[in-house]
Amino acid sequence: MFFKSKISPDELSQKSDTELYILLCGEKRIARAAFSLLYDRHSARVYSYCRRILQNPATAEDIVQEVFAKLFEQSCAKAEMTNIAGFLIRVARNLCLNEKEKKYNQHISLEEFHLSSQANEVERSELLKMIGAALETLPEAERESFSLKEFDGLNYTEISKILNITEQNVRIRVFRGKQKLREILSPYLHDSR
């Protein structure tokens, strides 16, 4: 016996991430719609994050699937979740690190972690490529905080949870990152004006 859902698609789309997360392990039709909405809201961010780290679209796609599967598992395990975006990036980060460890079988340094020169990415703009190259010169702590803030759109609280440092510390790192980046890119920025 199948019952029609009492929640319309419009109502669902207005629900918060956390509300949708709770619905993931409920009635199949609603769970499907909730999953779809959560995927639409966060997949680009997670996928971008994975691609930047791994520089391999196929592996990034595998990890995106894994990440959303973990979210689903958490929902079915009735695990409490208040910050879906942060959870997704945290899981993606761990899986990406594992993947890189598997691939290179060596200690992973964040030197090669964020935004390398983006080889073969001819579609990226010149300035974006320079930002990527400039980021490589930053200390890894500042680079990762800056990337999570600027590229992945996470707030300071979310980043602090992911990196397991204080929010104030994150603010300082991001600020320093911005300043250094500006310093490096300044000649280019002024020339292009």
Binding site: F2, K28, F35, V122, S125, L185, L189
Partner: protein
């Protein structure tokens, strides 16, 4: 943020760009910006970097990834009927093991049915041995059983011989007239038996022999393998027995000449539908190169083909096939910046084309026949060639199983170069005829 920590102008600017500045601090920052060229320049720089990252740093995942992610957690594809969708992941997982088990069981049964003596042949062998013993003991003259013509010269012994259960037909198989009937059987029965029966490979041979030995043929009847019940019915309905009557013999021969095919003695097909066979098969083929991405769509009907074939004769058939499956493509080219790049995609393509099937009878097994086939098909991306080799189980029955190996090659063009995507694996399916 009210700037309780006496943040520097740069820190205020950074907080402002993060959208975390209080109205009071914003006012303070704008006052500074109005009078500070360096701070204005810094703001322009940071805004440029922020804007560039915001607009250019997003990669969008492929469309198919969503369906794959949903399928991974058992939420399946959207839009199909509820029960079917819910059952689909299970069906997909169970299909290959169940199909393999079914095909394996049927193959085992078929092999045993071919190799093990069945009840009828056991009875025949027993009767044959008993009969041979009688001959060896001298109870029955050997010349009685050699041939039909010699049989006719040994009338005195016939009654004794015919009083035995017929070795093939048992108690009910003897003609009530007491004569030993000559028997005509299907082409698939290769051996000749030794009880005065002649086995003919085809109609022509029968008719030729009948005309040459017309005088020696006392009786003729059509007897066939047990499952061909329709022929037995024909015997009753059309009186395909001469019953020692020369007129009747002629009638039977004429009936055979008119109503049976040349290859064997199966009745001629009456309509085109009788010559049709339909097939549905699934295949599990590995792609070369191995796909690194997921298929770009996930239709329910995939890795399957359906076909309709016109049977030209017992061994050959031609027809049309339709199918759908994913092909892993890897191709390279020169982009507008003269850089060579490679691209991979995993497209699900429907295909349709013409097909040929060959089921030779040279093994002589009635329940298994070799199977070969080729298909030339087209897709929206390029031509597809397919070939299969395997076995057909129970080829005579209305529903038969097919199993074997199958390969396919999809050819496509990119920037004046031809690329191919080969696949190879196993196939299994069902063939139906009317």
């Amino acid at each position: 943020m009210n700037n309780p920590l006496n943040l520097s102008n740069s820190e205020l600017l950074s907080a402002y760009l993060d959208g975390e500045l209080s109205p009071q601090s914003e006012k303070q920052l704008f006052e500074q910006l109005a009078s500070n060229d360096a701070l204005r320049s810094e703001m322009r720089d940071l805004l440029a970097i922020h804007k560039e990252i915001e607009t250019g740093a997003v990669y969008y995942p492929p469309m198919a990834l969503k369906a794959a992610a949903m399928a991974k957690v058992g939420l399946g594809s959207v839009g199909a009927a509820g029960v079917f969708t819910a059952a689909l992941p299970f069906v997909q997982k169970a299909f290959i093991p169940v199909a393999s088990a079914l095909v394996g069981s049927l193959m085992t049964v078929a092999v045993f049915m071919n190799l093990m003596p069945d009840a009828e042949s056991f009875k025949k062998n027993s009767a044959e041995n008993s009969f041979k013993n009688d001959v060896e003991k001298g109870e029955i003259p050997a010349n009685v059983i050699l041939s039909e013509s010699e049989e006719s010269a040994a009338d005195g012994q016939r009654e004794k011989m015919d009083s035995r259960p017929h070795p093939e037909l048992g108690e009910g198989g003897n003609d009530k007239s007491g004569d030993n009937p000559s028997r005509l059987r299907r082409v698939s029965l290769k051996k000749e038996d030794t009880f005065g029966e002649k086995v003919f490979k085809n109609k022509e041979e029968l008719l030729k022999t009948a005309s040459l030995e017309n005088n020696s043929f006392k009786n003729i009847a059509i007897v066939t393998i047990p499952e061909k019940n329709f022929l037995k019915e024909n015997i009753t309905q059309n009186s395909f027995k001469s019953n020692d009557n020369p007129a009747s013999l002629k009638e039977v021969l004429k009936t055979i000449e008119d109503e049976f095919t040349t290859d064997g003695i199966l009745p001629k097909k009456s309509s085109w539908l009788d010559n049709m066979q339909f097939e549905i098969r699934g295949f599990s083929l590995a792609n070369y190169p191995q796909p690194r991405t997921l298929p770009q769509s996930d239709p329910i009907f995939k890795n399957m083909a359906v076909g309709a074939y016109y049977t030209l004769n017992d061994e050959n058939a031609v027809g049309m096939e339709f199918g759908q499956e994913a092909f892993s493509q890897k191709f390279g080219g020169i982009d507008e910046d003269s850089i060579y790049f490679t691209y991979q995609q995993y497209l699900v393509l429907p295909w349709a084309g013409i097909s040929y099937r060959y089921t030779p009878d040279f093994l002589g097994f009635k329940n298994i026949r070799p199977l070969g086939g080729i298909t030339l098909a087209g897709t929206t991306g390029g031509p597809v060639g397919r070939a299969m080799i395997g076995a057909k189980l129970f080829p005579e029955s209305p529903v038969s199983m097919i199993v074997g190996a199958e390969g396919a090659v999809f050819a496509y063009q990119y920037q004046d170069k031809i690329f191919t995507s080969p696949k190879f694996g196993v196939m299994y399916g069902v063939s139906v005829k009317f």
